[in-house]
Symmetry: C2
Subunit: 327 residues, 2 copies
Amino acid sequence: MARKDPEIITEKDLMRRWSRSMRAQGKTIGLVPTMGYLHQGHISLVKEAQEHADLIVVSIYVNPCQFAPSEDLATYPSDFQGDIEKLRALSGGVDVVFHPQNLYDYGTSGAVSENNDASGNSCSSQSGDDKEKRAEGAAVSCIGERQYGHETWVRVERLEKGMCGKSRPIFFRGVATVVTKLFNIVEPDIAVFGKKDYQQWRIICRMVRDLDFSINVVGSEIVRDADGLAMSSRNVHLSPEERKKALSINKALSRAKLAAQSGQVSCRELRNSVTQAISESGGKIDYAEIVDQESLEAVEEIKRPVVFCIAAWFGKVRLIDNIEINV
Amino acid sequence: MARKDPEIITEKDLMRRWSRSMRAQGKTIGLVPTMGYLHQGHISLVKEAQEHADLIVVSIYVNPCQFAPSEDLATYPSDFQGDIEKLRALSGGVDVVFHPQNLYDYGTSGAVSENNDASGNSCSSQSGDDKEKRAEGAAVSCIGERQYGHETWVRVERLEKGMCGKSRPIFFRGVATVVTKLFNIVEPDIAVFGKKDYQQWRIICRMVRDLDFSINVVGSEIVRDADGLAMSSRNVHLSPEERKKALSINKALSRAKLAAQSGQVSCRELRNSVTQAISESGGKIDYAEIVDQESLEAVEEIKRPVVFCIAAWFGKVRLIDNIEINV
């Protein structure tokens, strides 16, 4: 089968024009939002999208708004040419890669200071205003908010609070906002999100419902390497030894699922075994929570479908993973 | 000219289907969001929309999310049949009146309690959860958040803080969120907002820019009764005497504009004259601020275009008004 070269679009207006001309022809559009450095996990999202839509748009954009200044924006891996090759090689292919330079640069109008010391993905220099905000404990991202004058945020207030929201307080605000922007630019009929980012997936589902987006959100199953590690762009930063240790996450989660299915319904017991196993393997637990699959509220005893979610550090890399337990 | 009967649509899906079928025929759609009890101010918004779009949708929906429990949701005036008559009588007419019953009722999925004690526009009974939130000083609206499970909010964080945002801390969150929902349901090409609600208009403009809505937001000039009072659905609650007193707002603002144009650039002086005049007429000032027309930041001396914004109580009615001063 001939390889399909995706059209690369970098401008919002051109992206929207493409979508509208396709919709006028009766085509449906599937969106797969990514931050690039694509792996088989992403490819599985694209394949999922192909099942639901006539045409596929993959966005590649490292969103500065979901990174705090202390986080790894500067070292987030990227390989745009490699990404394009992977998409070209994919059966059925991809129609458009939307690759904007800066989704928050609206031109000069609306900027609220003369400060021009930050641009693109850099997050090293923050304006005085941002420093003040940080001193007050307020949310600050890597966007250069004062420079660009961006000030509108979408918050999913209950679902964003727990788990990853605790250690990354601005993360889901940034995700919900950039996804809203992408939805408004690409105007897709369906959008695919990976269930590895379980909380993110549920937040997007809730946001789509609450804001009446006419978009079908599809959750796609976790893809694992042969050794069981959930695929993530950040895995590249793991040393071989850290990677080996990190296998403890999936092993412990799988054991917990088996135990639950064999009648162990106490979440405290299950959490204890899992955190102990990961800690003994050299991981540093950020959280280990068993929550309702939809509300993400903590559960004491497993009586209905739950999901066991983990975040843990191995060296300088923070990994997340989860397993659904349907009893 | 024959009167045009607007089609009345109450369901989100049917509304979106209508818009999409019209767009597929190459028509542009103008949206005029209202809370009903229409007056000549609303009619001027519709006429403005007619200038910019082929087809007109007027939404009539009293949005519980922008009212705090202490506010006047229960007494907000309504006259749906009268509204339809006014729109029928309008030259050129209106194509659709979108009149949903409850934009926040998503069915049972997502509700987080069994509590069914609130519905529709009633705001008298709040769930225990809402009471707790209020005790913590958190934002609570009249929506019955726990009942419907709605938890996604659009915030325009800088512009929403001052002026009306000070005395009505949940107001603009409710406005930005319901307008996002209406935009996603109606999918208009343009939307018209009145400049009487100056801060609201600027917030919607900023939100549209920041979230990449493909919608042209048009600001429409204030419409006044013959005596100079800015038209508002709430004026109906003024006694004849209160109404007479309330004329002091526009009189004082007009005098301030003349003074500024004659060289009085000190905002402190201008504010003092206006607040004194309104207070002496029996009004109770909520705020009187002279701000930059775009950033809405307070100005000390008038050197560039500003807007003088007022909110004041006359009896139990809170009125807002403003005047642009372009020096």
